[in-house]
Structures are given as structure tokens and as C-alpha cells.
């Protein structure tokens, strides 16, 4: 049901793009740092609307698909690029340099995807501790020796390295969220700096499942049984991150009867997803004997990994002050 509403919304926006024909085509750069490429694919997920957009913009950098000449970007005058879309976390020196260069050359920088917004999946390396394994400086391949970039001391979201203007969270963001950014740029109606292209409410606020509360005795993994698609997943013992996660994805996972993994990051007013989620868990867990409570908590499959799946690098405990070149 939700999914349908979200598609309709999308077509309206697409209609808007068709009507715009700006005098000068804005210059757009797309860059991928420590990510999986899924965010880039989300652009392609726009389907035909993608062509509508590319007709209206001038792509100056997009290593995955079009232009990958970094030297050309470096030679540009400052603020030549109108909009830069940066996806992926900052994991090595090369990416950090590129982020700083792109900040100089661009008027607007948008962090796209959970890795650029919060550190994302690569940020989970923080669960491993540091310095266990020495990172390699080079690898030997059939073609010769390939030098590897020097890793940063910690994995950082884009805002940990440079100032960021807008955020489009999601793993990956839905094509409609990306489309909205393009449309507001082309129409000259960009929201104030710091805006997030998603809702401020929590996913639960938009969820229609029935809630019971104070009843969970044991937690499950999604494959362990068949779950009722009318009742709140959390009440059925699945770690659904809905109570602390920002809405705006169209409840994609929950409508497919899968628990929300929290990819849109914390909703407005929530500082730390883990801290906030612990309050939620305490309120839905069955009380009783101490041993029962301990058993219930032990049945949670990886609490740290679930609550901080996308936001470990920006959590209270692991967040680092702005990284610099040295």
C-alpha cells in the first residue's frame, strides 16, 4: 500500500523535470569513495527519468559510467561544479583528498547513501578494533605491482572530512529521493543547507501494523519462522529498527515483511541509534526474573551490529572529531 503511494509521488516529480529547461545546464559531478556502487546504481534505477535528467545537466565527473579524469577536475576553477553527489565513506587518503578537492570545486555537495551520510556498512569495521592486522601497502598482480592507497585511521562519513550541504541517506537511497534533489536544483528551489531529503519522523510513525508491547521473551532472526504481516515485527521478536529510523523510504522492507535495518539513519532528534533503540527494547521486553531478562537479551542476534549497522562511525562512542590530512 505504502509502496504504491511512493511510486505515484515519483511520477509527479518526473513530470516536473520534463517541464524544466534551464538556460544553462548545471554541471554535476558524481563520485564514489568507500562504497559498493549501489548508490550509483540507484541513479540508473530512475529508468527513463534518468534520461530526462541527463538531458538537463552536464556530467563532468562520474567514474563508474562516464568521465573519470580526476586531473580535469583538479584543473577546474573553484566552484565550477554546481552539484556534487558524493557516495561512499571516506576510508583512505586518496578519498579524503578527493573529498577536499570536490568541496573546493563545487557549489553544493550532497552526501548520497548511508556510507557518505553516517559511515555506513564500512563503518562496521569499527566493531573489529583497530590495528589487529597491518594494512598492506601494495599487492602483486599478474600485470605488476599495484600500490594500495594509505588507509585513514578511522572510517568517516563525508561530514567528518568536509562541510556537507545536503544528505540523502539510504542503502541505497530510493531513486525518488535522488530525483527530488535534481528537481529542486533544476527548479531553483533547494531547501536550506543541512536538509535531509527524507522525512523527519520515524518509520513507526508511518507503519500501520498492530502493536502489543511488553511481550517479547525471545528474539529471532528473520529466517527462523513465518511472521504475521499485520502485527508489528518488533512485537514478534524481530529487531525492527523502525522506532528510531527516519522515514522516507516508503517502508520498503517492512512492507515486504522484513524488519527495517535502519538504513535511513536516526530520525530527527535522535543522537545515537543504539542508545535510543535500547530504550525501545527495554519497553517491549517482558519483565520478570533476572535470569529470564538475561536470557531474552542473550537471544538477540548481535545487538551492536544490528543497532549500529549503518551508523557506527557516527555513534556517540565511535564518532571521531573531524579528520584532517595529518
Amino acid at each position: 500500500m505504502k509502496l504504491k503511494a511512493f511510486r505515484e509521488d515519483w511520477s509527479q516529480v518526473a513530470e516536473a523535470v520534463r517541464k524544466i529547461s534551464p538556460g544553462r545546464k548545471p554541471k554535476v559531478a558524481l563520485y564514489m569513495a568507500g562504497g559498493c556502487g549501489g548508490c550509483d546504481l540507484s541513479f540508473i534505477g530512475l529508468g527513463e527519468r534518468f534520461l530526462d535528467i541527463t538531458e538537463n545537466i552536464d556530467v563532468v565527473l562520474w567514474p563508474l559510467i562516464a568521465d573519470f579524469r580526476y586531473s580535469r577536475v583538479k584543473r577546474m576553477y573553484d566552484k565550477t561544479i554546481d552539484l556534487c553527489l558524493f557516495n561512499g565513506a571516506v576510508m583512505n587518503r586518496g578519498q579524503m583528498d578527493m573529498a577536499q578537492i570536490l568541496r573546493k570545486k563545487s557549489k553544493i555537495i550532497t552526501a548520497v547513501g548511508s556510507c557518505a551520510c553516517m559511515g555506513g556498512i564500512p563503518g562496521m569495521l569499527g566493531l573489529q578494533g583497530k590495528g589487529k592486522e597491518k594494512s598492506r601497502k601494495r599487492v602483486k598482480l599478474a600485470e605488476g605491482i599495484l600500490p594500495l592507497p594509505e588507509p585513514c585511521d578511522f572510517i568517516s562519513p563525508l561530514s567528518g572530512v568536509i562541510d556537507v550541504d545536503y544528505l540523502i541517506p539510504g542503502c541505497p537511497p530510493t531513486p525518488s529521493m535522488i530525483l527530488k534533489l535534481f528537481v529542486s536544483m533544476l527548479e531553483n528551489k533547494l531547501p536550506p543547507k543541512g536538509s535531509v531529503f527524507a522525512s523527519g519522523r520515524t518509520l513507526c510513525d508511518e507503519c500501520e501494523r498492530a502493536r502489543k508491547g511488553k511481550s517479547v521473551k525471545v528474539f529471532h532472526r528473520p529466517y527462523e519462522k513465518v511472521f504475521d504481516d499485520k502485527v508489528c515485527l518488533l512485537d514478534q521478536g524481530l529487531l525492527c529498527m523502525g522506532p528510531v529510523t527516519r522515514a522516507g523510504c516508503g517502508s520498503q522492507c517492512v512492507s515486504a515483511n522484513m524488519p527495517c535495518r535502519g538504513c535511513l539513519g536516526p530520525a530527527e532528534g535522535i543522537l545515537d541509534m543504539g542508545g535510543a533503540y535500547i530504550s525501545t527494547l527495554a519497553s517491549i521486553m517482558c519483565g520478570g526474573e533476572k535470569t529470564t531478562i538475561r536470557k531474552t537479551v542473550e537471544s538477540i542476534p548481535s545487538l551492536g551490529g544490528t543497532v549500529y549497522r549503518f551508523s557506527l562511525s557516527s555513534s556517540i562512542l565511535k564518532k571521531q572529531r573531524r579528520a584532517s590530512r595529518n
Binding site: G131, K132, L281, I293, Y308, L317
Partner: protein, 129 residues
């Protein structure tokens, strides 16, 4: 070399804190019922440099906000689990029920915890197990 003095933060409400203990003897206290403890505060204290945290509550049935009995323990167990998933020793977090008047018990707890933390050493983020 100067001996390492661990920093302990106590979370407890006014009614569980012993009245006759001088403030200078208590490491540092954040007042407020632990049944309503916002885990965010506890995580922030660890980030700000606490080495260990003591959560104090009245014994079951004696809490002045009676209907909340047991909430504190759930939060404690969940937080302990979260910390251990983040490779921080569970022993840095301790939960005890204390009767109002037991100032002796309170000081004993603090001493115990201090020696435990001394053996663990200062909280470092990497590679604690």
C-alpha cells in the same frame, strides 16, 4: 609513576543515595531514576572519559516509582550486551540494588568497582574484549 585512578560515574536517584556520605567521597553522581535512564547519557559519559559506570536502584518493590520496577535491570543488561558487542568489557558497567540507608554498602561497592577497574586499566576503545 602516578597511580591510575579510575573515574566512576554513578547513576542513581536521590532516594537510593545514602544521605550521610560526603559528596567528596562519591566519585561523581548523576541524579535521576535509573528506571528512566536514557542510555544516551551513559554512552556519553563513557565517551567523555569515564572508565566505569555504577547504576544504583532501590531493591525490588521499594522503588518510589513502583510501576517501573525492573525497567532499570532490562536497560542494564541491554547496555552490557551492547558494550560487549562493541568490545568493551561488561565489567565496566555494574548494577546494584541498595537500601536507602546503606552508606556502608555504597562505599564498599565503589571500592570494589575501583579495584576492578584498576585491574582492567583505562578504557581504550580498541581491543578490549
Amino acid at each position: 609513576m602516578e597511580e591510575y585512578e579510575p573515574k566512576i560515574i554513578v547513576f542513581a536517584c536521590k532516594s537510593c543515595l545514602p544521605k550521610n556520605v560526603g559528596l567528596e567521597e562519591i566519585p561523581l553522581v548523576r541524579e535521576g531514576c535509573v528506571n528512566h535512564l536514557n542510555p544516551k547519557l551513559l554512552l556519553s559519559e563513557l565517551k567523555k572519559g569515564a572508565d566505569g559506570i555504577l547504576m544504583l536502584c532501590s531493591p525490588p518493590g521499594e522503588c518510589h516509582s513502583a510501576e517501573e520496577d525492573g525497567e532499570a535491570f532490562k536497560r542494564f543488561v541491554l547496555l552490557q550486551r551492547l558494550l560487549s558487542d562493541l568490545r568493551i568489557s561488561r565489567e565496566r558497567l555494574r548494577f546494584e540494588c541498595l537500601k536507602e540507608s546503606e552508606s556502608f554498602g555504597f562505599m564498599k561497592l565503589v571500592k570494589e568497582m575501583t579495584s576492578k577497574l584498576k585491574s582492567l586499566g583505562p578504557l581504550r576503545w580498541e581491543n578490549e574484549a
